[in-house]
Symmetry: C2
Subunit: 339 residues, 2 copies
């Protein structure tokens, strides 16, 4: 009897801030911890990848390399870069996935470029106006998926509704929650509060079959009042980046306090361990990455500064998503207009 075909995960080996070193280290770690239940396709500069694989003593693992001569950097304009760098690791990897030569694609590269490549090369799922990416915000208990996190800055009500549908399906399948709670971010709990688009989206969500709990406010995100909080990408991105700056702010304030005297210095020194331990959930490498929702395929985007562990977790997430039927469910859910 033939064993079931292994999933093939393509990785943009040149994407992140520390590529290809961390990409290769993370992928090797992923293969080893998962008992090699999948294969890795490294996409990028063949020689550089080979050197890293040699350093990782990874000859016995199930990988192959697909060469790509160009790199899209963090500074590149997404759409321009995709037009000009047809042989970039990002474009080549995404095409491999589109052509069915890989079952998923992961990248810690230029987020805008990965999103554009996924939309242009893989195409949108029927019924989806705009693909979206979210972010998992660590909360007092569990996490909260904030969606959209920057992919779509100007959003109409219909788009907010679609984000809610996609987020709900993702949490249902990946977090195995029967009826994820969905909330709409606004400036007050009343349905009349918010921008025109938000007020309109409230109507759509209320009429939908989703487990919609109504509006929540900025203060409810860290409390994870809902599994999914829907907002436009401008607000989501601003909150995400504001949140990411909180640990640095704390560090700076503690340093300033420590500088005021010897006792202060000792007190801050002692405070570091419980603080770091308490906030370990805030490390984005734990989650690894976020999926591009609404495209025909499986694409996971990671933080540019992902560690090897972050890359490993992105790959394991891609394997997990590729095993589900997120996209089929999204298409089915958006087939019928809600109002």
């Amino acid at each position: 009897m033939e064993s079931p075909k292994k999933l093939r995960i393509a990785i943009d080996a040149m994407g992140g801030d520390y590529a290809p070193e961390r990409e290769i280290a993370g992928a090797v770690e992923a293969l080893r911890t998962s008992n090699e239940i999948f294969e890795i396709i490294f996409v990028g500069d063949e020689q550089a990848i080979h050197r890293q694989l040699l350093a990782q003593k990874a000859n016995d693992l199930p990988w192959k390399i697909v060469h790509a001569s160009q790199i899209i950097t963090m500074e590149d304009s997404p759409t321009a870069a995709l037009k000009q760098k047809k042989d970039s690791s990002l474009a080549v990897g995404m095409r491999l996935h589109h052509e069915g030569k890989a079952d998923a694609f992961v990248s810690a590269g230029n987020t805008g470029a990965v999103l554009s490549a996924a939309t242009l090369i893989l195409g949108r799922i029927k019924g989806v106006s705009r693909p979206t990416i979210g972010t998992f915000i660590p909360a007092e208990h569990g996490t909260c998926l904030l969606l959209d996190a920057g992919a779509n800055v100007d959003c109409r009500a219909q788009q907010l509704y679609e984000f809610a549908v996609m987020g709900s399906i993702y949490i249902q399948l990946l977090r195995k929650k029967e009826r994820p709670t969905i909330a709409l971010l606004s400036v007050g709990e009343e349905k009349s509060k918010g921008t025109e688009a938000v007020v309109e989206a409230h109507k759509l969500l209320s009429a939908s079959k989703l487990n919609f709990i109504g509006n929540v406010e900025g203060r409810d995100i860290l409390k994870a009042k809902a599994d999914v909080v829907v907002c436009d990408g401008f607000t989501g991105n601003s909150i995400l980046k504001f949140g990411e700056s909180v640990p640095g702010f704390l560090k700076s304030k503690l340093s300033q306090f420590a500088e005021q005297g010897f006792i202060n210095k000792i007190a801050v020194g002692l405070a570091l361990w419980p603080l770091k331990a308490s906030l370990s959930d805030m490390d984005p490498n734990k989650e690894g990455g976020v999926p591009v929702l609404g495209v025909k395929g499986v694409t996971i985007i990671g933080h540019g500064s992902s560690t090897a562990t972050g890359i490993k977790n992105m790959i394991l997430r891609a394997v997990e998503v590729a095993h589900t039927q997120v996209n089929r469910d999204i298409e089915a859910a958006l087939l019928i207009p809600v109002l």
Copy 2:
């Protein structure tokens, strides 16, 4: 020679969550610490105010009471409440200011109602499309005025520009900064990034005489990259409320860690002092309140849960603002269209 006429500050004695107790205590504190350089007009239930003044042994201080029989609560809809409760402490106090019987008005009541009352009763300054309220965010060094913080959820470019002008003048006069730095919140530093309104506002701000430093992102607020960060009220309100929830989140995470064992409990116990001391700037009572910018008058809005110290600081802020020519400068600056 006659001494110069004392400023008269009217206070909504029934506004805050702990009114009138904290309102009276804070006002009495303000009078005492400032050597009675101004007078207080308490607006609200005469008997309740008298009782509190008695408890504070404040008979010798320069105050008077103007009775108002109704109260606008935190749950009231702003516009409906203003129509129905003509004799509320908020409406009566704002009218006193409008009629020139008080030089400023402060309230820790229903923010939306105070804003509406200021706009409807005092009227807009010529050239101002929409009055605004901001919030002072404590940053690594100093504070950052985030403007708008929720008064205007749907904003056009012209409004964002006006917020920038008003914020710049406020910081210049109240913080005594010659050329305050102004930034526009967006999802990237490039001028092409952001919503349509933000991209358009970037053009207006670039063409203006303001000390505009370009776009900043959510992560730059706590770094106070600019003295004033301009955004629509939906985003500003979401960030403000998200930020307000950070201390509670930290507390919850530390408690969870403390529960894991005896050593953890001791470690967290030791961490509390340096943490609280380091974050003392985050207490909104230090700032006291924020002004309504763009109306013909001086109105300071405080947090509903303001302490007596918070109320005191609101009153002192009102005195300070009433001594400047913020409104005259705003009118002059907005007289000529920028593009």
